[in-house]
């Protein structure tokens, strides 16, 4: 497997001078192609900032972040736009365009590439909607869909370009247990089929068993894990976790990359 995301000594801070507040501190992380990594931790621990940096949505300050073989350190705005075109994003509140149909929303993701016709884009969009279980919903607008269906459209939109990396931010936060699990299952399965790496930020303990690894973040660092943790059985085999804090403390079950 090749490494899709390689983060080394990544630090990031908001503000300047006396107001400077570090949110990421010397962070190291590697995500392989086809791997599903769940990133969890309390609010303010830096998960979102890490996602934004890996997603080329923010410029790096210190350290290195190689995404899909490209160094983001020192990248120009236009270069970061180019990188983003190779990443699929799934947002907490789906972020669909309300004035477009489901198929049009998915096809929008293909419009960044000027090649291809509108008909071809729509054909691919409809096929992708079918893949996420939304056959027959191509013409529905977001406000005509349930929360789970909207999130499926968002997943279709993220996957239709066959990205090498998928970043999902709390994709199940607004969904009930069954829908959340279903959404995560679809996302992980389709990503694995495409050998895409998936990084999911979540507070939802109900889906922690669906990833290949779970990383816990706190105070801008990924929770301390030992090299031997790599050999531990995947979390997906364990069921019935308690509160998130318990999961974090269960370090033997949490695999993180040790630098």
């Amino acid at each position: 497997m090749s490494t899709t995301v390689e983060v080394q000594d990544l630090s990031y801070a908001f503000g300047a001078g006396s107001l400077r507040r570090p949110v990421l501190v010397n962070l190291n992380l590697a995500v392989e192609a086809g791997e599903v990594v769940l990133l969890t931790g309390p609010s303010g621990s830096g998960k979102t900032t890490l996602m934004a940096l890996i997603g080329a949505l923010r410029a790096l300050q210190e350290g290195s972040c190689i995404v899909l073989g490209r160094e983001l350190g020192g990248a120009r705005d236009r270069d970061r736009v180019a990188i983003r075109r190779r990443i699929g994003f799934v947002f907490q509140d789906h972020r669909l365009l309300g004035f477009l149909t489901a198929a049009q929303n998915v096809a929008m993701s293909l419009e960044v590439d000027p090649a291809g016709s509108e008909r071809d884009r729509m054909r691919r969009a409809v096929a992708m909607l079918e893949a996420v279980g939304l056959a027959g919903y191509a013409g529905a607008r977001p406000d005509e869909l349930s929360g789970g269906q909207r999130q499926r459209v968002a997943i279709a939109r993220a996957l239709v370009r066959n990205p090498g990396l998928i970043l999902a931010d709390e994709p199940t936060a607004a969904l009930d247990r069954q829908s959340g699990a279903e959404i995560t299952r679809i996302l992980c399965e389709l990503a694995r089929q495409r050998s895409a790496a998936v990084l999911i930020v979540t507070h939802d303990v109900r889906i922690l068993d669906m990833g290949d690894r779970v990383l816990a973040m706190e105070d801008g660092r990924i929770g301390a894990v030992s090299a031997s943790d790599r050999e531990l059985p995947p979390l997906r085999r364990a069921r019935g976790f308690g509160p998130l804090e318990d999961v974090v403390e269960m370090s033997p079950l949490v695999k993180g990359s040790a630098s």
């Binding site: 080394q8 000594d9 630090s11 010397n26 979102t48 996602m51 934004a52 997603g55 949505l57 923010r58 790096l60 210190e62 350290g63 290195s64 490209r70 160094e71 350190g73 020192g74 990248a75 120009r76 236009r78 270069d79 736009v81 180019a82 990188i83 983003r84 075109r85 190779r86 994003f89 947002f91 972020r95 365009l97 309300g98 004035f99 477009l100 049009q104 929008m108 993701s109 419009e111 960044v112 000027p114 509108e118 939109r157 931010d169 930020v201």
Partner: protein
């Protein structure tokens, strides 16, 4: 740890090209049309169409602006068209006028002798004196008085071309006969109807009874509510203060093949400075300039036209700004997905252009109705010309594009990092 970052940044700093060179976006160029525009226009239209109430408000705003501008320009053009109708009707190559004269309806007299002096130049065929004055016209229907423009000249000299004048020339040679301008305001009475009913009509101008022998068409203007055409002798009967030796303007008809500019230069050299020598175009332009810049009304119309454009731009700006603010999250999402600012700029500009087109079409339709109403109410020649429509359409496009460009600042505030 920072060595890694440092080396990455350092190498980028030294390198000619970015390490993303092999798959980076092509350099952005300003192209009048590209596939991006087609896609952006489609997205813009879908976005506009999704909210019919907002679209209707936006289109109404642009329509309102277009109507405002078209009406202002229509009145402005009517001002100049009617003001220059009289000098346009004068049919000669050169004119002698008093240097103090700023507009024909208030012409200062010039010695008729200057016309005879002009005949010293061999190319000058004849000098025709034209007399202009205003006098009270008594409405034969209700007895009210209103000032009317008197235009007196020897009709046989062919120095004035007015619609309907030719067949009346023999009748006008008789003293105390006049031809009434049927395009005058109705306050002078329904002269054309009375004339058609009775065959002839006696009216009072000043203190003189004159016979109306027919009608011509010249048009009311901002300077004169109506016109009446007559011989120079009749005019002096009506206004005895005007002497035959003092003309309002002298029309110089040149021999065939004469170069007006050369003759003009020769006359300038020959004649004393109490007259100016104007070509026909200069005479018309002087009238135009008087109304455009000397009178407040021209300035007011210019100001109102600019104000209309400004109001239209503010309306479109407000609409687009509100639209961008309400869709800021969507724009941020699109940026996160890899759409460039350039693409989103095209979406906003496309919205502006669509609004311009959608607002302009009903704007023209509304203006046509208002032009008709205003023309019948003011008796001014208000014509919605294709040229004016084309000009206002371009102006509407420019106005909307400017408004769109102003709103782009807000678009740049859509931060893709905010999507998480």
């Amino acid at each position: 740890m920072n060595m890694l970052a440092g080396s990455a940044v350092g190498s980028l700093g030294k390198a000619e090209h970015s390490p993303f060179y092999d798959f980076a976006l092509p350099p952005e160029r300003v192209r009048p049309w590209s596939p991006d525009w087609a896609r952006a226009s489609r997205l813009a239209w879908r976005q506009l169409r999704a909210e019919p109430a907002r679209l209707l408000a936006a289109v109404t705003g642009v329509m309102f602006a277009a109507i405002l501008v078209l009406m202002q320009l229509g009145f402005r053009a009517a001002l100049f068209d009617t003001a220059t109708a009289l000098p346009e009707a004068l049919h000669a190559e050169l004119f002698l006028s008093n240097p103090m004269t700023t507009a024909l309806f208030r012409a200062e007299p010039i010695p008729r002798a200057r016309g005879f002096q002009a005949l010293a130049v061999p190319e000058v065929l004849k000098a025709v004196p034209i007399y202009l004055a205003q006098a009270p016209w008594r409405n034969p229907e209700n007895g009210t008085h209103r000032a009317i423009q008197l235009i007196g000249f020897d009709a046989e000299d062919d120095a004035v071309k007015i619609v309907g004048l030719s067949p009346l020339v023999p009748a006008l040679k008789r003293v105390d006969t006049v031809a009434f301008d049927s395009s005058s305001r109705p306050e002078f009475g329904d002269i054309a109807d009375l004339l058609a009913r009775d065959g002839s009509l006696e009216v009072q101008i000043g203190s003189l009874e004159v016979r109306v022998v027919g009608t011509v068409r010249l048009g009311a203007s901002f300077g004169a509510d109506g016109n009446v055409v007559m011989s120079d002798d009749t005019l002096r009967h009506i206004v005895p203060a005007i002497r035959a030796a003092d003309a309002s303007v002298l029309a110089l008809k040149l021999r065939p093949g004469a170069n007006p500019l050369r003759v003009q230069a020769e006359l300038k050299r020959l004649l004393p400075p109490d007259v100016v020598v104007l070509t026909h175009a200069q005479l018309v332009q002087r009238e135009h300039d008087y109304w455009d810049s000397t009178t407040p009304i021209g300035v007011i119309f210019d100001f109102c036209s600019l104000l209309s454009i400004f109001i239209g731009m503010v309306i479109v700006y407000q609409i687009l700004f509100t639209d961008i603010v309400s869709h800021l999250r969507e724009y941020a999402t699109l940026k996160a997905m890899g759409f460039t600012n350039s693409y989103l700029n095209k979406v906003v500009i496309s919205e502006a252009l669509i609004l311009a087109v959608l607002g302009f079409v009903p704007g023209v339709a509304g203006s046509m109705v208002l032009y008709r109403y205003a023309a019948s109410a003011t008796y001014l020649a208000l014509d919605l010309t294709g040229q004016r429509c084309a000009w206002v359409f371009l102006m509407t496009l420019a106005m909307c594009i400017c408004a769109g460009l102003l709103t782009l600042r807000k678009l740049y505030q859509a931060d893709p990092a905010e999507v998480f």
